[in-house]
Symmetry: C2
Subunit: 192 residues, 2 copies
DNA sequence: TCGACCATGTAACTAGTTACATGATTCG
DNA sequence: CGAATCATGTAACTAGTTACATGGTCGA
């Protein structure tokens, strides 16, 4: 039940469901994703459990918003989650399953084309993270190791994203090269 | 809907639900996981859709088993999935969310301890994959680039697992070092 | 006034997990 | 005879996605 704890983590300061969604898309996008239709009911549930409190705020600009903030009990629940140690689930990577079954094509060119598409997508995602890093670095001279604690930890998560995508991109390039060597090798066999 | 297509991919040869589960745990563990309680109903559904056929096999040794094999329609569905291009979902990494909220501890030692636990788990998983690679290499002189097509592609998925875990392990070590430098730096500040 | 964005939600569905139920065969 | 493994499933639950409904405010 990670969404629960992630919301508790984000709600040290009061935020609305809508704010939380934006924070997912901005700061947590690298490792978590949640829809509004999942966030709202979950907030309700957490309030029912007494892990957070809410206040309706009516402002002159914009529609009324409900602001949530975690309670002392909510913070204890968050710490309990952190103290339980790293939660490493088994990841599911559909695209690797696809790579595994690529021989079904029985066509090296189609297989290589798949890998090139994958490479492009990985490169795109890596470029996005690199852009984020570049801007952060340009805006804050404390980047990366003199940042305040919360931003330093956000930077750590960014650093892993960069490393993993870089490794994945390398792998794509190597794999394509290895596949091409096999293809030309088997062509030579046929000619002979 | 990836499980569907993964099952279709595996069922080029006839297999029982039980066999499929073992194959998940052995060959696909690096990128996919499925329980028997998910596999059996899914097989039933695919049979209803005409994507695979089944035969009850009664053998002298062991209880009766139902063997599934994909139909021509099933193979077309598999190819359709592969041709749709790489399916890269947004991964959810709970442990990175935990790293993000580590400052809640307000205790550098507890944070570092968390990272060390994470490091150990990553090292353990990496060791498992390295062991698999080592044995494979020892048993088959064709490893890795002269293997038959299906095994070559399985090796590609193993190679990505190795690269990603290696990158993650590096990141753990770097992160721990960076956290420790910050801790000693802030201790010096307090003494002054 | 129209489209973009702010803001909150519900309903129906799909996917995946955990717990349970059942029974056969094999090996020590 | 008992434990491990083979083998197939169901039921209840949790998590997440997609589609839809509603209405306010702001700027071009």
């Amino acid at each position: 039940m990670s969404l629960k704890h992630i919301l508790l983590g984000m709600l040290a300061e009061p935020r609305s469901g809508y704010d939380l969604k934006k924070e997912f898309d901005k700061s947590l996008r690298n490792f978590w994703h949640a829809e509004l239709s999942q966030i709202y009911p979950q907030l309700q549930k957490l309030e029912d459990e007494g892990l957070l409190t809410s206040k309706q705020k009516i402002s002159s600009e914009g529609p009324p918003r409900r602001e949530y903030r975690r309670s002392a009990k909510g913070r204890r629940e968050l710490l309990k989650w952190l103290r339980a140690g790293p939660q490493m689930g088994k990841d599911r990577m559909s695209y690797l399953a696809q790579v595994y079954f690529l021989p079904e094509f029985d066509d090296p060119e189609e297989s290589v084309a798949f890998m090139q598409e994958l490479r492009d997508e990985v490169a795109k995602r890596l470029a996005t993270l690199e852009q984020i890093e570049k801007e952060w670095q340009a805006c804050d001279p404390r980047y990366p190791d003199e940042l305040p604690d919360d931003e330093f930890h956000a930077q750590l998560t960014l650093a892993l994203g960069l490393k993993r995508l870089t490794a994945t991109l390398d792998w794509c390039d190597e794999s394509i090269a290895r596949m091409q060597v096999r293809t030309t090798a088997s062509k030579r066999m046929k000619r002979a």
